[in-house]
Symmetry: C2
Subunit: 209 residues, 2 copies
DNA sequence: AAGAATAAATACCTATAGGTACGATAATGA
DNA sequence: TCATTATCGTACCTATAGGTATTTATTCTT
Protein backbone atom coordinates (compact mmCIF):
# COMPACT_ATOMS: atom_id res chain seq x y z
CA UNK A 1 0.00 0.00 0.00
CA UNK A 2 2.83 2.45 0.75
CA UNK A 3 4.56 4.38 -1.98
CA UNK A 4 8.03 2.80 -2.01
CA UNK A 5 9.05 -0.48 -0.53
CA UNK A 6 12.78 -0.65 -1.32
CA UNK A 7 14.78 2.41 -0.24
CA UNK A 8 15.74 3.03 -3.78
CA UNK A 9 18.54 4.63 -5.58
CA UNK A 10 17.76 7.15 -8.29
CA UNK A 11 15.68 10.29 -8.35
CA UNK A 12 12.86 10.07 -5.84
CA UNK A 13 9.43 9.34 -7.20
CA UNK A 14 7.05 12.25 -7.27
CA UNK A 15 4.19 10.59 -9.11
CA UNK A 16 1.29 9.70 -6.84
CA UNK A 17 0.17 6.30 -8.02
CA UNK A 18 -2.73 6.22 -5.66
CA UNK A 19 -4.08 9.59 -6.68
CA UNK A 20 -3.98 8.60 -10.32
CA UNK A 21 -5.67 5.31 -9.61
CA UNK A 22 -8.43 6.93 -7.58
CA UNK A 23 -9.00 9.69 -10.11
CA UNK A 24 -9.01 7.29 -13.02
CA UNK A 25 -11.46 5.00 -11.28
CA UNK A 26 -13.83 7.85 -10.51
CA UNK A 27 -13.61 9.18 -14.02
CA UNK A 28 -14.21 5.79 -15.62
CA UNK A 29 -17.04 5.11 -13.24
CA UNK A 30 -18.69 8.46 -13.83
CA UNK A 31 -18.21 8.98 -17.55
CA UNK A 32 -17.66 5.47 -18.81
CA UNK A 33 -14.24 3.97 -19.44
CA UNK A 34 -14.16 4.89 -23.12
CA UNK A 35 -14.90 8.52 -22.46
CA UNK A 36 -11.81 9.19 -20.40
CA UNK A 37 -8.40 9.61 -22.02
CA UNK A 38 -4.96 9.43 -20.50
CA UNK A 39 -4.70 13.14 -21.21
CA UNK A 40 -7.76 13.73 -19.08
CA UNK A 41 -6.20 11.86 -16.20
CA UNK A 42 -3.00 13.84 -16.56
CA UNK A 43 -4.80 17.16 -16.49
CA UNK A 44 -6.87 16.04 -13.56
CA UNK A 45 -4.01 14.84 -11.42
CA UNK A 46 -1.20 17.06 -12.62
CA UNK A 47 0.83 14.04 -13.60
CA UNK A 48 2.87 14.00 -16.79
CA UNK A 49 1.92 11.64 -19.53
CA UNK A 50 5.18 9.71 -19.61
CA UNK A 51 4.88 9.40 -15.85
CA UNK A 52 1.55 7.68 -16.18
CA UNK A 53 2.91 5.42 -18.88
CA UNK A 54 5.94 4.58 -16.77
CA UNK A 55 3.66 3.53 -13.96
CA UNK A 56 0.92 1.70 -15.82
CA UNK A 57 2.57 0.75 -19.14
CA UNK A 58 -0.39 1.85 -21.24
CA UNK A 59 -4.05 2.67 -21.33
CA UNK A 60 -4.94 -0.96 -20.92
CA UNK A 61 -2.75 -1.20 -17.83
CA UNK A 62 -4.31 1.83 -16.19
CA UNK A 63 -7.81 0.56 -16.87
CA UNK A 64 -6.89 -2.83 -15.51
CA UNK A 65 -5.46 -1.35 -12.33
CA UNK A 66 -8.48 0.87 -11.85
CA UNK A 67 -10.69 -2.15 -12.31
CA UNK A 68 -8.75 -4.00 -9.62
CA UNK A 69 -9.34 -1.10 -7.28
CA UNK A 70 -13.00 -1.24 -8.15
CA UNK A 71 -13.13 -4.92 -7.31
CA UNK A 72 -11.87 -4.47 -3.78
CA UNK A 73 -13.98 -1.39 -3.29
CA UNK A 74 -17.32 -2.30 -4.76
CA UNK A 75 -17.43 -5.95 -5.70
CA UNK A 76 -15.83 -7.72 -2.76
CA UNK A 77 -18.42 -6.41 -0.28
CA UNK A 78 -21.17 -7.92 -2.37
CA UNK A 79 -19.31 -11.21 -2.60
CA UNK A 80 -19.01 -11.20 1.16
CA UNK A 81 -22.74 -10.74 1.48
CA UNK A 82 -23.54 -13.48 -0.99
CA UNK A 83 -21.16 -15.92 0.67
CA UNK A 84 -22.37 -15.17 4.19
CA UNK A 85 -24.04 -17.99 6.06
CA UNK A 86 -27.04 -15.98 7.17
CA UNK A 87 -30.52 -17.14 6.19
CA UNK A 88 -31.41 -16.52 2.59
CA UNK A 89 -33.97 -13.85 3.33
CA UNK A 90 -31.44 -11.87 5.32
CA UNK A 91 -28.94 -12.25 2.56
CA UNK A 92 -31.49 -10.89 0.14
CA UNK A 93 -32.08 -7.85 2.28
CA UNK A 94 -28.38 -7.25 2.78
CA UNK A 95 -27.72 -7.51 -0.93
CA UNK A 96 -30.52 -5.12 -1.75
CA UNK A 97 -29.39 -2.62 0.87
CA UNK A 98 -25.89 -2.73 -0.50
CA UNK A 99 -26.95 -2.36 -4.09
CA UNK A 100 -29.38 0.48 -3.46
CA UNK A 101 -27.46 2.42 -0.85
CA UNK A 102 -27.27 6.14 -1.47
CA UNK A 103 -24.19 6.69 -3.56
CA UNK A 104 -24.13 10.44 -3.39
CA UNK A 105 -23.78 10.50 0.36
CA UNK A 106 -20.88 8.07 0.03
CA UNK A 107 -19.12 10.12 -2.61
CA UNK A 108 -19.40 7.31 -5.10
CA UNK A 109 -20.90 7.48 -8.61
CA UNK A 110 -24.11 5.75 -9.56
CA UNK A 111 -24.05 2.69 -11.72
CA UNK A 112 -21.52 -0.08 -11.98
CA UNK A 113 -18.14 -0.08 -13.67
CA UNK A 114 -18.38 -3.78 -14.41
CA UNK A 115 -21.59 -3.23 -16.28
CA UNK A 116 -20.22 -0.29 -18.20
CA UNK A 117 -17.05 -2.12 -19.11
CA UNK A 118 -18.99 -5.15 -20.21
CA UNK A 119 -21.14 -2.97 -22.42
CA UNK A 120 -18.05 -1.38 -23.96
CA UNK A 121 -15.90 -4.47 -23.91
CA UNK A 122 -14.99 -4.13 -27.58
CA UNK A 123 -13.17 -0.95 -26.69
CA UNK A 124 -11.06 -2.50 -23.96
CA UNK A 125 -7.52 -3.82 -24.09
CA UNK A 126 -6.74 -7.44 -23.50
CA UNK A 127 -5.56 -7.28 -19.90
CA UNK A 128 -8.50 -5.16 -18.77
CA UNK A 129 -10.80 -7.57 -20.53
CA UNK A 130 -9.18 -10.50 -18.81
CA UNK A 131 -9.55 -8.90 -15.42
CA UNK A 132 -13.14 -8.00 -16.19
CA UNK A 133 -13.98 -11.55 -17.13
CA UNK A 134 -12.27 -12.84 -14.01
CA UNK A 135 -14.29 -10.58 -11.74
CA UNK A 136 -17.52 -11.28 -13.53
CA UNK A 137 -16.91 -15.00 -13.35
CA UNK A 138 -16.33 -14.70 -9.62
CA UNK A 139 -19.54 -12.81 -9.20
CA UNK A 140 -21.44 -15.33 -11.24
CA UNK A 141 -19.99 -18.13 -9.17
CA UNK A 142 -21.16 -16.32 -6.07
CA UNK A 143 -24.70 -16.16 -7.43
CA UNK A 144 -24.50 -19.77 -8.40
CA UNK A 145 -23.40 -20.91 -4.97
CA UNK A 146 -26.01 -18.70 -3.36
CA UNK A 147 -28.70 -20.51 -5.30
CA UNK A 148 -27.19 -23.86 -4.40
CA UNK A 149 -27.21 -22.90 -0.75
CA UNK A 150 -30.82 -21.81 -1.00
CA UNK A 151 -31.74 -25.18 -2.45
CA UNK A 152 -30.02 -26.92 0.43
CA UNK A 153 -32.08 -24.80 2.78
CA UNK A 154 -35.21 -25.96 1.08
CA UNK A 155 -35.88 -23.08 -1.26
CA UNK A 156 -36.85 -24.28 -4.67
CA UNK A 157 -37.33 -22.64 -7.96
CA UNK A 158 -38.51 -23.90 -11.29
CA UNK A 159 -35.22 -23.13 -12.87
CA UNK A 160 -31.93 -24.91 -12.99
CA UNK A 161 -29.30 -23.49 -10.70
CA UNK A 162 -27.37 -22.10 -13.62
CA UNK A 163 -30.40 -20.38 -15.06
CA UNK A 164 -31.38 -18.95 -11.71
CA UNK A 165 -27.90 -17.52 -11.37
CA UNK A 166 -28.26 -15.93 -14.79
CA UNK A 167 -31.59 -14.51 -13.70
CA UNK A 168 -30.07 -13.04 -10.55
CA UNK A 169 -27.20 -11.57 -12.51
CA UNK A 170 -29.73 -9.89 -14.77
CA UNK A 171 -31.51 -8.34 -11.83
CA UNK A 172 -28.29 -6.93 -10.48
CA UNK A 173 -27.25 -5.50 -13.81
CA UNK A 174 -30.73 -4.12 -14.29
CA UNK A 175 -30.56 -2.41 -10.92
CA UNK A 176 -27.28 -0.78 -11.84
CA UNK A 177 -28.73 0.38 -15.12
CA UNK A 178 -31.77 1.89 -13.45
CA UNK A 179 -29.61 3.63 -10.90
CA UNK A 180 -27.48 5.11 -13.62
CA UNK A 181 -30.58 6.36 -15.37
CA UNK A 182 -31.66 8.22 -12.30
CA UNK A 183 -34.43 5.98 -11.03
CA UNK A 184 -34.84 6.32 -7.28
CA UNK A 185 -33.18 3.80 -5.04
CA UNK A 186 -36.50 3.13 -3.41
CA UNK A 187 -38.06 2.05 -6.67
CA UNK A 188 -35.01 -0.02 -7.49
CA UNK A 189 -35.19 -1.70 -4.11
CA UNK A 190 -38.83 -2.57 -4.68
CA UNK A 191 -38.10 -4.10 -8.04
CA UNK A 192 -35.13 -6.01 -6.68
CA UNK A 193 -37.05 -7.23 -3.69
CA UNK A 194 -39.75 -8.56 -5.95
CA UNK A 195 -37.28 -10.13 -8.35
CA UNK A 196 -35.12 -11.78 -5.71
CA UNK A 197 -37.98 -13.12 -3.64
CA UNK A 198 -39.40 -14.62 -6.80
CA UNK A 199 -36.25 -16.54 -7.44
CA UNK A 200 -36.20 -17.94 -3.93
CA UNK A 201 -39.88 -18.65 -3.46
CA UNK A 202 -40.44 -21.89 -1.63
CA UNK A 203 -43.04 -23.49 -3.84
CA UNK A 204 -43.87 -23.48 -7.48
CA UNK A 205 -45.96 -20.37 -7.96
CA UNK A 206 -49.50 -20.31 -9.12
CA UNK A 207 -49.22 -19.50 -12.73
CA UNK A 208 -51.64 -18.15 -15.21
CA UNK A 209 -53.03 -20.85 -17.53
CA UNK B 1 -39.15 4.20 -50.31
CA UNK B 2 -37.95 4.74 -53.88
CA UNK B 3 -34.72 6.54 -54.60
CA UNK B 4 -35.99 9.75 -56.17
CA UNK B 5 -39.45 11.16 -55.91
CA UNK B 6 -39.19 14.37 -57.95
CA UNK B 7 -37.64 13.96 -61.40
CA UNK B 8 -34.96 16.37 -60.40
CA UNK B 9 -32.61 18.67 -62.11
CA UNK B 10 -28.90 18.29 -61.66
CA UNK B 11 -26.50 15.41 -61.95
CA UNK B 12 -28.24 12.12 -61.23
CA UNK B 13 -27.69 10.59 -57.86
CA UNK B 14 -25.43 7.59 -57.76
CA UNK B 15 -25.25 7.16 -54.00
CA UNK B 16 -27.31 4.26 -52.72
CA UNK B 17 -28.94 5.59 -49.58
CA UNK B 18 -30.49 2.29 -48.73
CA UNK B 19 -27.29 0.33 -49.05
CA UNK B 20 -25.52 2.74 -46.74
CA UNK B 21 -28.33 2.61 -44.23
CA UNK B 22 -28.45 -1.16 -44.21
CA UNK B 23 -24.69 -1.50 -43.97
CA UNK B 24 -24.45 1.08 -41.23
CA UNK B 25 -27.20 -0.58 -39.24
CA UNK B 26 -25.57 -3.97 -39.50
CA UNK B 27 -22.19 -2.59 -38.54
CA UNK B 28 -23.54 -0.69 -35.55
CA UNK B 29 -25.56 -3.66 -34.48
CA UNK B 30 -22.66 -6.06 -34.77
CA UNK B 31 -19.75 -4.01 -33.49
CA UNK B 32 -21.45 -1.38 -31.39
CA UNK B 33 -22.25 2.13 -32.66
CA UNK B 34 -19.06 3.67 -31.30
CA UNK B 35 -16.82 1.17 -33.02
CA UNK B 36 -17.90 2.05 -36.53
CA UNK B 37 -16.61 5.15 -38.26
CA UNK B 38 -17.92 6.94 -41.32
CA UNK B 39 -14.75 5.86 -43.04
CA UNK B 40 -15.64 2.25 -42.33
CA UNK B 41 -19.04 2.72 -43.91
CA UNK B 42 -17.48 4.36 -46.95
CA UNK B 43 -15.03 1.53 -47.46
CA UNK B 44 -17.78 -0.99 -46.96
CA UNK B 45 -20.24 0.51 -49.40
CA UNK B 46 -17.90 2.16 -51.87
CA UNK B 47 -19.49 5.52 -51.19
CA UNK B 48 -17.41 8.67 -50.94
CA UNK B 49 -17.23 10.47 -47.66
CA UNK B 50 -18.72 13.73 -48.85
CA UNK B 51 -21.50 11.70 -50.40
CA UNK B 52 -22.40 10.22 -47.07
CA UNK B 53 -22.26 13.62 -45.43
CA UNK B 54 -24.44 15.12 -48.14
CA UNK B 55 -27.04 12.45 -47.49
CA UNK B 56 -26.99 12.27 -43.70
CA UNK B 57 -25.46 15.61 -42.66
CA UNK B 58 -23.12 14.07 -40.12
CA UNK B 59 -22.31 11.09 -37.98
CA UNK B 60 -25.21 11.86 -35.71
CA UNK B 61 -27.59 11.94 -38.67
CA UNK B 62 -26.42 8.60 -39.99
CA UNK B 63 -26.75 6.98 -36.60
CA UNK B 64 -30.19 8.45 -36.15
CA UNK B 65 -31.35 7.19 -39.52
CA UNK B 66 -29.93 3.74 -38.85
CA UNK B 67 -31.74 3.72 -35.54
CA UNK B 68 -34.99 4.57 -37.28
CA UNK B 69 -34.46 1.61 -39.56
CA UNK B 70 -33.83 -0.54 -36.53
CA UNK B 71 -37.08 0.60 -34.97
CA UNK B 72 -39.22 -0.53 -37.87
CA UNK B 73 -37.23 -3.72 -38.28
CA UNK B 74 -36.76 -4.95 -34.76
CA UNK B 75 -38.76 -2.89 -32.31
CA UNK B 76 -42.12 -2.47 -33.97
CA UNK B 77 -42.78 -6.23 -34.16
CA UNK B 78 -42.32 -6.45 -30.41
CA UNK B 79 -44.64 -3.51 -29.85
CA UNK B 80 -47.23 -5.25 -31.99
CA UNK B 81 -46.96 -8.34 -29.82
CA UNK B 82 -47.22 -6.40 -26.59
CA UNK B 83 -50.24 -4.43 -27.81
CA UNK B 84 -52.05 -7.48 -29.15
CA UNK B 85 -55.32 -8.40 -27.49
CA UNK B 86 -54.49 -12.06 -27.02
CA UNK B 87 -54.52 -13.54 -23.53
CA UNK B 88 -51.56 -12.59 -21.42
CA UNK B 89 -50.03 -16.04 -21.42
CA UNK B 90 -50.08 -16.13 -25.20
CA UNK B 91 -48.55 -12.70 -25.32
CA UNK B 92 -45.80 -13.91 -23.05
CA UNK B 93 -45.05 -16.82 -25.31
CA UNK B 94 -45.11 -14.67 -28.40
CA UNK B 95 -42.76 -12.13 -26.85
CA UNK B 96 -40.34 -14.83 -25.75
CA UNK B 97 -40.37 -16.47 -29.16
CA UNK B 98 -39.67 -13.19 -30.81
CA UNK B 99 -36.88 -12.27 -28.45
CA UNK B 100 -35.15 -15.63 -28.58
CA UNK B 101 -35.61 -16.45 -32.23
CA UNK B 102 -32.52 -17.66 -33.99
CA UNK B 103 -30.78 -14.60 -35.30
CA UNK B 104 -28.17 -16.32 -37.39
CA UNK B 105 -30.72 -18.03 -39.58
CA UNK B 106 -32.37 -14.68 -40.14
CA UNK B 107 -29.14 -12.94 -41.07
CA UNK B 108 -29.45 -10.59 -38.14
CA UNK B 109 -26.87 -9.95 -35.42
CA UNK B 110 -27.33 -11.00 -31.83
CA UNK B 111 -28.10 -8.46 -29.17
CA UNK B 112 -30.02 -5.23 -29.35
CA UNK B 113 -28.99 -1.92 -30.82
CA UNK B 114 -31.18 -0.03 -28.35
CA UNK B 115 -29.37 -1.64 -25.46
CA UNK B 116 -25.96 -0.95 -26.96
CA UNK B 117 -26.80 2.64 -27.72
CA UNK B 118 -28.17 3.17 -24.25
CA UNK B 119 -24.98 1.79 -22.80
CA UNK B 120 -22.90 4.12 -24.96
CA UNK B 121 -25.27 7.04 -24.85
CA UNK B 122 -22.54 9.46 -23.77
CA UNK B 123 -20.91 8.89 -27.11
CA UNK B 124 -24.00 9.69 -29.16
CA UNK B 125 -25.01 12.90 -30.84
CA UNK B 126 -28.09 14.79 -29.81
CA UNK B 127 -30.49 13.71 -32.52
CA UNK B 128 -29.59 10.04 -32.19
CA UNK B 129 -30.04 10.36 -28.46
CA UNK B 130 -33.43 11.97 -28.93
CA UNK B 131 -34.56 9.21 -31.24
CA UNK B 132 -33.23 6.61 -28.85
CA UNK B 133 -35.14 8.08 -25.96
CA UNK B 134 -38.29 8.27 -28.04
CA UNK B 135 -38.11 4.61 -28.99
CA UNK B 136 -37.26 3.51 -25.48
CA UNK B 137 -40.12 5.53 -24.06
CA UNK B 138 -42.48 3.88 -26.53
CA UNK B 139 -41.26 0.48 -25.51
CA UNK B 140 -41.62 1.30 -21.85
CA UNK B 141 -45.14 2.53 -22.46
CA UNK B 142 -45.90 -0.74 -24.16
CA UNK B 143 -44.70 -2.68 -21.13
CA UNK B 144 -46.67 -0.40 -18.90
CA UNK B 145 -49.89 -0.88 -20.79
CA UNK B 146 -49.27 -4.59 -20.99
CA UNK B 147 -49.16 -4.72 -17.21
CA UNK B 148 -52.26 -2.60 -16.96
CA UNK B 149 -54.07 -4.94 -19.31
CA UNK B 150 -52.96 -7.92 -17.26
CA UNK B 151 -54.37 -6.33 -14.15
CA UNK B 152 -57.69 -5.80 -15.89
CA UNK B 153 -57.67 -9.47 -16.78
CA UNK B 154 -57.21 -10.33 -13.14
CA UNK B 155 -53.49 -10.89 -12.99
CA UNK B 156 -52.00 -9.28 -9.96
CA UNK B 157 -48.52 -8.64 -8.84
CA UNK B 158 -47.10 -7.22 -5.67
CA UNK B 159 -45.60 -4.34 -7.53
CA UNK B 160 -46.96 -1.11 -8.79
CA UNK B 161 -47.59 -1.01 -12.50
CA UNK B 162 -44.67 1.28 -13.06
CA UNK B 163 -42.29 -0.96 -11.15
CA UNK B 164 -43.53 -4.03 -12.91
CA UNK B 165 -42.86 -2.34 -16.21
CA UNK B 166 -39.34 -1.53 -15.06
CA UNK B 167 -38.93 -5.15 -14.06
CA UNK B 168 -40.07 -6.35 -17.48
CA UNK B 169 -37.79 -3.92 -19.22
CA UNK B 170 -34.90 -5.33 -17.20
CA UNK B 171 -35.73 -8.85 -18.27
CA UNK B 172 -35.76 -7.85 -21.91
CA UNK B 173 -32.48 -6.02 -21.68
CA UNK B 174 -31.01 -8.92 -19.74
CA UNK B 175 -32.08 -11.31 -22.46
CA UNK B 176 -30.41 -9.18 -25.10
CA UNK B 177 -27.24 -9.04 -23.03
CA UNK B 178 -27.18 -12.80 -22.60
CA UNK B 179 -27.75 -13.35 -26.27
CA UNK B 180 -24.89 -11.05 -27.12
CA UNK B 181 -22.65 -12.95 -24.76
CA UNK B 182 -23.37 -16.17 -26.54
CA UNK B 183 -25.77 -17.83 -24.13
CA UNK B 184 -28.07 -20.24 -25.92
CA UNK B 185 -31.52 -19.05 -26.90
CA UNK B 186 -32.99 -22.03 -25.11
CA UNK B 187 -31.47 -20.97 -21.81
CA UNK B 188 -32.53 -17.39 -22.40
CA UNK B 189 -36.07 -18.52 -23.12
CA UNK B 190 -36.15 -20.49 -19.88
CA UNK B 191 -34.98 -17.51 -17.88
CA UNK B 192 -37.41 -15.21 -19.62
CA UNK B 193 -40.28 -17.61 -19.20
CA UNK B 194 -39.59 -17.79 -15.50
CA UNK B 195 -39.19 -14.04 -15.14
CA UNK B 196 -42.28 -13.10 -17.12
CA UNK B 197 -44.57 -15.65 -15.51
CA UNK B 198 -43.41 -14.37 -12.14
CA UNK B 199 -44.49 -10.88 -13.00
CA UNK B 200 -47.91 -12.04 -14.08
CA UNK B 201 -48.60 -14.65 -11.42
CA UNK B 202 -52.18 -14.60 -10.23
CA UNK B 203 -51.66 -14.63 -6.50
CA UNK B 204 -49.10 -13.32 -4.12
CA UNK B 205 -46.43 -15.98 -4.08
CA UNK B 206 -45.43 -18.01 -1.10
CA UNK B 207 -42.43 -16.22 0.15
CA UNK B 208 -39.66 -17.27 2.37
CA UNK B 209 -39.96 -15.89 5.90
C1' DA C 1 -26.11 26.90 -76.64
C1' DA C 2 -25.87 28.93 -71.99
C1' DG C 3 -26.87 29.06 -67.53
C1' DA C 4 -28.77 26.88 -63.30
C1' DA C 5 -28.88 23.14 -60.44
C1' DT C 6 -27.24 19.21 -58.42
C1' DA C 7 -24.04 15.40 -57.35
C1' DA C 8 -19.45 13.45 -57.89
C1' DA C 9 -14.77 12.53 -55.56
C1' DT C 10 -9.95 13.87 -54.39
C1' DA C 11 -7.51 15.95 -51.26
C1' DC C 12 -7.47 18.38 -47.70
C1' DC C 13 -8.49 20.41 -42.53
C1' DT C 14 -8.49 20.22 -37.24
C1' DA C 15 -8.69 17.78 -33.05
C1' DT C 16 -7.47 14.23 -30.24
C1' DA C 17 -6.29 9.63 -29.23
C1' DG C 18 -2.44 6.49 -27.64
C1' DG C 19 2.32 6.46 -27.15
C1' DT C 20 7.57 7.76 -26.88
C1' DA C 21 12.48 10.02 -27.60
C1' DC C 22 15.38 12.27 -25.01
C1' DG C 23 17.81 15.58 -22.26
C1' DA C 24 17.42 17.29 -17.52
C1' DT C 25 17.35 16.32 -12.67
C1' DA C 26 17.91 14.23 -8.17
C1' DA C 27 19.12 10.86 -5.34
C1' DT C 28 22.83 6.87 -3.81
C1' DG C 29 27.28 4.42 -3.62
C1' DA C 30 32.20 4.21 -4.27
C1' DT D 1 34.00 13.80 -6.92
C1' DC D 2 31.89 11.18 -10.16
C1' DA D 3 29.63 7.35 -12.04
C1' DT D 4 25.23 4.93 -11.45
C1' DT D 5 20.50 4.61 -11.16
C1' DA D 6 16.03 6.05 -11.74
C1' DT D 7 12.49 9.46 -12.39
C1' DC D 8 11.09 13.82 -14.50
C1' DG D 9 8.60 16.33 -18.17
C1' DT D 10 8.70 18.91 -22.74
C1' DA D 11 8.02 18.16 -27.12
C1' DC D 12 7.29 15.26 -30.26
C1' DC D 13 5.27 10.96 -33.32
C1' DT D 14 1.54 8.30 -35.87
C1' DA D 15 -3.07 7.07 -36.61
C1' DT D 16 -7.67 8.06 -37.05
C1' DA D 17 -11.75 10.44 -36.02
C1' DG D 18 -15.28 13.81 -37.83
C1' DG D 19 -15.84 17.07 -41.30
C1' DT D 20 -15.19 20.18 -45.67
C1' DA D 21 -13.20 23.14 -49.74
C1' DT D 22 -12.93 22.69 -54.37
C1' DT D 23 -13.07 21.27 -58.83
C1' DT D 24 -15.31 18.40 -62.17
C1' DA D 25 -19.23 15.98 -64.20
C1' DT D 26 -24.02 15.45 -65.56
C1' DT D 27 -28.55 16.65 -66.00
C1' DC D 28 -32.78 19.99 -66.90
C1' DT D 29 -34.52 24.65 -68.22
C1' DT D 30 -34.64 28.52 -70.99
Amino acid sequence: MSQNQTPLRGRPKKLDRNLILQSALMEYWTKGPSNVSINDICKLTGASKPGVYREFSNDDGLKKSALETYQTLAVQPLLDILYSDKPISETIDAAISFITQDRKSMGVPNGCLLVMMTAQSEQLGSSTLEELNRIRANLFTAYFSWVKRAKLEGELSDLETNETALYLENQHIGAMRMQREGISNETIANVLNFAFKMAFSKKPKLLLN
